[in-house]
C-alpha cells in the first residue's frame, strides 16, 4: 500500500527530443490511475520509468515517500503486467508465479500458499502444471496478473495488458481487473490507448499527448469539462464535433446562434458532443432558448445500432462532417436536410490559438 508521487519527471533519450517532459501528479494509496493517450505520447515510457526499466533524466519519483530514481526494479516493491504477458515459456504456471518469490528467498510453504491463493482468485487452479503455450490468451493474461498478485507489492503497473485479447474477452477482463484492484486495494497505474478502458477503470485519469499531461481528473469530469481540444476529442466515442469560429463568432454556413458565444480575438473552436445534438422531429422544432446553437445538416448516412442511431451529415449541405447520436431508431432518409439543436450548457468552447477551454 503506497502513494506514488511524480514531481517534474522528464525523460530525454540521448540528444533527441524529450519523450516525456515535466510530469507532476500523485496517485493516492489504493488509487487506480490510468495513463491514456495516442501511441507515442510517452505513457509507456513514463510507466517504465516508474518501474525502473528506464532511467529518469529529470525530476523525482517517490513510492510511499521513498525516492526511487536510482533504485533497481526489484527493490522498488512493484509488480508489472506486460502487454505480451512476458511469461517464462519454459516454466509451468506455478513456477511462473513462484519465480519472483523464490528469487526473494521466500520460504517454500509460503510460496505455495500465496500461489494457491492467487490461483483461487484468478480461477487458475486447474492449470497450475501447464506451460504458458498450452493456455488461451485470457488464461495467460490471468497468469501474468497472478505473477503480480503473489508478490503482494506496493504498486501494480499495467502496460496495455488487454490489447492482445479479443473485444469480448477484453470487456470481461476489464471488469475483473477493476474488481480485483478494489478487493486487494493495491495502488495501480495502468497504461492504455483505449479511452473506453480508461474511462471505465480509472479513479484518476491522466490524459497525455506528445510527452506532456493534457489534463488530470476523474473520468467523468474530463468528459464533462475537457480543458483542451485534445482531451475533448480523445475522450468520448464517437469523438466530439469541432467547428471553427471566426473572432466575431461567425461560423460556417448552416450554423446559427454562434454569435452569442464569447469568442476570443484569436478565434475559437466550438465543440459539441454527438449525443447533445437533438434533431427536430417531423417539422416540430425543438424549443430553443437564447444561446442555443442550431445546425442544419444534409444527412449523408444513418447507422442504426438498435438502442441508438448515429446520423452523419454535412453542415450547410456540403460543409464539415458532423455526427449526431439519437436515442432509439431514427431512420432519416439520406439526402434530406434536418435541423439539430445543441443546448448552451452542453457547448464547449476552446481558444483557437492555445487550444485551451474558454468559459461560456
Amino acid at each position: 500500500m503506497a502513494e506514488v508521487r511524480l514531481t517534474s519527471v522528464g525523460k530525454i533519450y540521448s540528444g533527441a527530443v524529450p519523450a516525456v517532459k515535466d510530469i507532476t501528479f500523485s496517485v493516492p494509496d489504493g488509487g487506480f490511475c490510468v495513463l491514456v493517450g495516442p501511441s507515442g505520447c510517452g505513457k509507456s515510457t513514463l510507466l517504465r520509468m516508474i518501474a525502473g526499466l528506464e532511467t529518469i533524466t529529470m525530476g523525482e519519483i517517490r513510492i510511499s515517500d521513498r525516492v526511487v530514481n536510482t533504485v533497481e526494479p526489484m527493490d522498488r516493491d512493484i509488480a508489472m503486467v506486460f502487454q505480451n504477458y512476458a511469461l517464462y515459456p519454459h516454466m509451468s504456471v506455478y513456477d511462473n508465479m513462484a519465480y519472483g518469490l523464490r528469487n526473494r528467498k521466500t520460504p517454500e510453504p509460503e510460496i505455495s500458499a500465496r500461489v494457491a491463493e492467487a490461483a483461487r482468485i484468478l480461477e487458475l487452479e486447474p492449470y497450475l502444471e501447464r506451460r504458458p503455450r498450452e493456455l488461451s490468451g485470457g488464461q495467460r493474461q490471468r497468469v501474468a496478473m497472478g505473477r503480480a498478485i503473489v508478490r503482494q507489492p506496493q504498486v501494480f503497473l499495467f502496460d496495455e495488458p488487454l490489447s492482445n485479447l479479443d473485444a469480448k474477452l477484453r470487456g470481461a477482463m476489464r471488469v475483473e481487473i477493476k474488481k480485483l484492484q478494489r478487493q486487494l486495494g493495491v495502488t495501480s497505474i495502468y497504461v492504455t490507448h483505449d479511452q473506453l478502458e480508461a474511462m471505465t477503470l480509472a479513479d484518476q485519469l491522466v490524459v497525455m499527448n506528445q510527452g506532456v499531461v493534457e489534463q488530470i481528473g476523474e473520468p467523468l469530469s474530463l468528459y464533462e469539462r475537457p480543458e483542451t481540444v485534445f482531451v475533448a476529442q480523445f475522450i468520448g466515442a464517437p469523438p466530439m464535433n469541432m467547428i471553427d469560429l471566426a473572432p466575431g463568432g461567425g461560423g460556417p454556413k448552416g450554423l446559427d446562434g454562434s454569435s452569442e458565444l464569447p469568442v476570443p480575438a484569436s478565434g475559437a473552436r466550438l465543440g459539441i458532443r454527438p449525443e447533445h445534438l437533438v434533431v427536430d422531429e417531423d417539422g416540430r422544432p425543438v424549443p430553443t432558448r437564447p444561446g442555443d446553437i442550431r445546425l442544419e445538416l444534409a444527412v449523408d448516412a444513418v447507422e442504426a445500432v438498435g438502442a441508438e442511431t448515429y446520423i452523419h451529415g454535412r453542415l450547410g449541405g456540403d460543409g464539415l462532417m458532423i455526427t449526431a447520436r439519437e436515442h432509439g431508431k431514427m431512420l432519416l432518409p439520406p439526402g434530406t436536410s434536418r435541423v439539430f439543436t445543441a443546448r448552451r450548457e452542453n457547448l464547449h468552447l476552446f481558444d483557437a490559438a492555445t487550444g485551451r477551454r474558454v468559459d461560456i
Binding site: 508489472m80 517464462y88 526473494r104
Partner: protein
C-alpha cells in the same frame, strides 16, 4: 497440392531408393568386410553376405590391435576422439553462449568491435592459421596433450553467431519481467535464456561433435605418441603397411566403430530437434 498419380509416385520412390542404396551400400560392404577373415579379402572373394568372424574381428581391433601395422588396440584412439569431440563441442558452446550473452545484453565500450573481432575468426579456421597455432601450442608445451588437441579448435565464431541471432529474437519483456522478479544477469541467463536456447544448443552440439570427431589435420600435426592418437588417424595408419598385406577386415571394423558415435549423437539429439520444432515456444 495433393496428387494421386501412381506412376509418378513409383518413379520418385525408385529414385529415392537408388539414392539411399548408393549411400548405404559402401557402408554395408564395410560391415560385411569387417565380418570376414583375412584370406577371403586377400583372395578377392568378398561376398555380399556377412561371414562369421564379426565378434572376433571387433574384439581384436578394440583390445589387441593389428598384427602388422600399428599394433595398437583401437580402444585408446576411440577414447581420445571421444574426449576431443566432447571437449570441443561443450567448450565451444559454453564460450559462445557466454560471449553472445555479453554482446546482446550488456552495454560496454567497444561492444560492436568485440563482436566483429569474434566474427573475424570465422575467416580464420585452423587450416589457415595452422603454423602460428602450432608454434603457440608447441611453445606452451601442449603437444601430445588433450589441451593442445582441443583448445585451438574451440576458438571460433560459428556458435557465437548462432546464439547471438537467437538471443536477438528473445523478447525484451522477458528480461524486464526477470528484472522485476528480482533476477540478476546471471540468474536471467541460467533460469530463462539457457532453457530457451536448449534446441539451439542441441543443434550446435551435433554439428560441433561431428566437426571435432572428424578432425584430421590438427591431430596429425600435434600428436606424436601412439596413446594420444585419434581414431581418424588410427584408421589412416592402419592402411599403410610395408612388406605385408593390409588387414582390411580390421580396418573396416575400425571404420564402422568410428562411424558409430556421431550416429548415436545425431539420433539422440534428433528427438530434441523434433521437440523444439513441434513445441513452438515464443
Amino acid at each position: 497440392m495433393v496428387e494421386n498419380r501412381p506412376l509418378a509416385n513409383l518413379a520418385s520412390h525408385l529414385i529415392l531408393i537408388v539414392g539411399v542404396a548408393i549411400v548405404a551400400f559402401p557402408v554395408y560392404l564395410a560391415l560385411v568386410a569387417s565380418s570376414s577373415d583375412p584370406t577371403t579379402i586377400a583372395n578377392g572373394q568378398l561376398g555380399l553376405l556377412p561371414e562369421g568372424h564379426l565378434f572376433e574381428n571387433y574384439w581384436k581391433v578394440l583390445f589387441e590391435g593389428t598384427e602388422r601395422s600399428t599394433k595398437q588396440p583401437m580402444i585408446v584412439p576411440l577414447f581420445n576422439s571421444l574426449v576431443m569431440a566432447l571437449v570441443i563441442s561443450i567448450g565451444k558452446i559454453s564460450i559462445s553462449l557466454i560471449s553472445a550473452f555479453a554482446i546482446i545484453y550488456f552495454r560496454f565500450p567497444f561492444r560492436h568491435t568485440a563482436f566483429w573481432v569474434i566474427f573475424l575468426t570465422l575467416m580464420l579456421p585452423v587450416e589457415v592459421r595452422i603454423y602460428p597455432t602450432y608454434k603457440i601450442v608447441a611453445d606452451l608445451g601442449l603437444l601430445d596433450t588433450y589441451a593442445g588437441l582441443t583448445i585451438p579448435l574451440i576458438a571460433s565464431a560459428t556458435a557465437t553467431l548462432l546464439f547471438r541471432q537467437f538471443f536477438m529474437t528473445v523478447p525484451d519483456e522477458l528480461l524486464e519481467a526477470s528484472k522485476i522478479d528480482g533476477a540478476g544477469p546471471w540468474k536471467f541467463f541460467k533460469d530463462t535464456l539457457l532453457p530457451l536456447s536448449m534446441t539451439s544448443v542441441a543443434a550446435m552440439f551435433v554439428i560441433q561433435f561431428i566437426y571435432g570427431w572428424n578432425q584430421y589435420l590438427w591431430p596429425l600435426l600435434i600428436t606424436t605418441r601412439d596413446d594420444m592418437q585419434t581414431i581418424v588417424i588410427g584408421i589412416q595408419k592402419m592402411l599403410y603397411v610395408t612388406d605385408a598385406l593390409t588387414e582390411w577386415q580390421l580396418a573396416m571394423a575400425t571404420t564402422i566403430l568410428a562411424m558409430l558415435p556421431p550416429v548415436v549423437v545425431v539420433v539422440a539429439m534428433q528427438k530434441l530437434f523434433v521437440r523444439g520444432l513441434t513445441e513452438t515456444e515464443k
